[in-house]
C-alpha cells in the first residue's frame, strides 16, 4: 500500500475515531453537581407546588437539571442559563422575584409591615408607661363632701 493511499485511508478513520470518542467521553469541561444545583435551586419546578427544580423528584425537573448541566458544560454562565428559562417561562419560573418595578412590593412590603408593627408597639408601650409614671392610679373625681363621708365611715368601722 502506498503512503499516499494510506494517508487517504487514514483521514476518514481519524474522523470516525474523533467522532466516536466525542460521543463516548463526557463533555470537555465537567460540570460539578454543585454548579447544577445552584442554578436548579433558583428555578421553580413547573409541575410541582412550591418546589425548586433542585428539590423535585419529578421527571420534568430531572430533564431540566439535564438541560442546565448541558448548558453549563457548553460554557454558559449560570445567569445565562437562568435567562434561558426566563425567556421561555417568564419570570414566574424564578423562585425569588427579580428586584425591579412592581416586584419591589414583594420585597419591601414585609419589611414595611414589620417596621410599622414595631413602631406601633413602641408608641403604645410608651403611652402606657408614661401614664403610670405620672402618679399611680388615675385620680377619680369625687366631690370633697363625698370623700369626707367615705373617710369618716371607714374610720368608724363597718
Amino acid at each position: 500500500m502506498s503512503r499516499a493511499r494510506l494517508r487517504r485511508l487514514a483521514a476518514p478513520v481519524l474522523v470516525l475515531l474523533v467522532g466516536v470518542s466525542a460521543f463516548a467521553q463526557p463533555p470537555a469541561s465537567p460540570v460539578s453537581e454543585d454548579a447544577v444545583h445552584e442554578v436548579a435551586a433558583q428555578l421553580r419546578c413547573v409541575v410541582c407546588q412550591s418546589l425548586s427544580v433542585a428539590d423535585s423528584p419529578s421527571e420534568m425537573a430531572s430533564q431540566m437539571r439535564g438541560i442546565i448541566r448541558e448548558r453549563l458544560a457548553a460554557g454558559e454562565r449560570p445567569a445565562e442559563v437562568i435567562q434561558y428559562f426566563v425567556d421561555r417561562y417568564g419570570e414566574w419560573i424564578l423562585l425569588a422575584p427579580r428586584r425591579h418595578g412592581f416586584n419591589w412590593l414583594v420585597w419591601l412590603f414585609p419589611l414595611v409591615a414589620v417596621a410599622t408593627g414595631f413602631t406601633l408597639v413602641a408608641v403604645i408601650v410608651r403611652r402606657w408607661t408614661r401614664r403610670r409614671r405620672e402618679g399611680g392610679p388615675t385620680p377619680v373625681n369625687v366631690d370633697p363632701a363625698m370623700s369626707e363621708r367615705i373617710r369618716r365611715e371607714m374610720e368608724r368601722g363597718a
Binding site: 413547573v46 420534568m60 430533564q63 438541560i67 428559562f85 425567556d87 421561555r88 417561562y89 417568564g90 414566574w92
Partner: protein, 178 residues
C-alpha cells in the same frame, strides 16, 4: 388618638383586601407565555415511525404543535380524536399537526398513537429540550404557529373542535408568506 387616625387604620386594610381579592380570583395555572408573538423554537426529532421531522420544513404552513403524553388522562384522550379529525379536514389546506410526546415511555406512546389511529406525525421529546424551549408546564398544551413561523396562540388543556377551527381559520385567513 385623633378622629383621622381612628378612620385611617381600618381603611389601611382595604389595599390588602384588594390585593388578596385579585390574587385569589386569578387562575394560578393561567400564566401568560412570553413566547406568544415570538418565533416558534425550531426542533428536529425523529417521529415514532422513525422518520425525521423538523419544524423548519413546514415553514409557510400553519403548524399546530401539540404536546401530549400517554399518561395524560383524560385531557389528552379527549383531544386526540379532535386533532386527528381536524388534521384530516385541514391537511390539504396548508395545515400541519405535529404531536410532541413528552415525559413518556416509547411503548406507551406507540400504543396511544395506534389506539387513536393518529396519522399526523408524532415525535418523542426524550430529553425534554423541546418542552422547555416551548415553556411547557404540563400536558396537554398546544401552540398554533402562523405561516411566518411565529407562535400566535398557546392553548392550555384539551383542544376542542371549536378552538382548533377558530384559531386555524384565523391564521389561514392571513396573507400567505410574501
Amino acid at each position: 388618638m385623633s378622629r383621622l387616625w381612628r378612620w385611617l387604620i381600618p381603611l389601611a386594610v382595604l389595599p390588602v383586601l384588594a390585593l388578596l381579592a385579585y390574587g385569589f380570583r386569578a387562575n394560578p395555572r393561567d400564566i401568560p407565555s412570553p413566547l406568544v408573538g415570538r418565533p416558534a423554537p425550531a426542533f428536529a426529532l425523529a417521529t415514532l415511525d422513525g422518520a425525521p421531522l423538523s419544524l423548519e420544513a413546514h415553514r409557510g404552513k400553519v403548524v399546530v404543535v401539540n404536546f401530549w403524553a400517554s399518561w395524560c388522562y383524560p385531557a389528552c384522550y379527549e383531544e386526540a380524536p379532535v386533532l386527528e379529525q381536524s388534521w384530516r379536514a385541514y391537511r390539504d389546506r396548508g395545515v400541519v399537526v405535529v404531536g410532541v410526546d413528552i415525559q413518556d415511555k416509547r411503548e406507551a406512546a406507540e400504543k396511544f398513537v395506534r389506539d387513536f389511529g393518529l396519522t399526523f406525525p408524532n415525535v418523542q421529546d426524550v430529553k425534554g429540550t423541546v418542552s422547555v424551549d416551548y415553556g411547557v408546564y404540563g400536558v396537554p398544551e398546544t401552540f398554533f404557529v402562523d405561516r411566518q413561523g411565529r407562535i400566535r396562540v398557546k392553548h392550555v388543556g384539551a383542544v376542542t373542535d371549536d378552538v382548533f377551527r377558530a384559531t386555524v381559520d384565523r391564521l389561514l385567513a392571513e396573507a400567505p408568506k410574501p
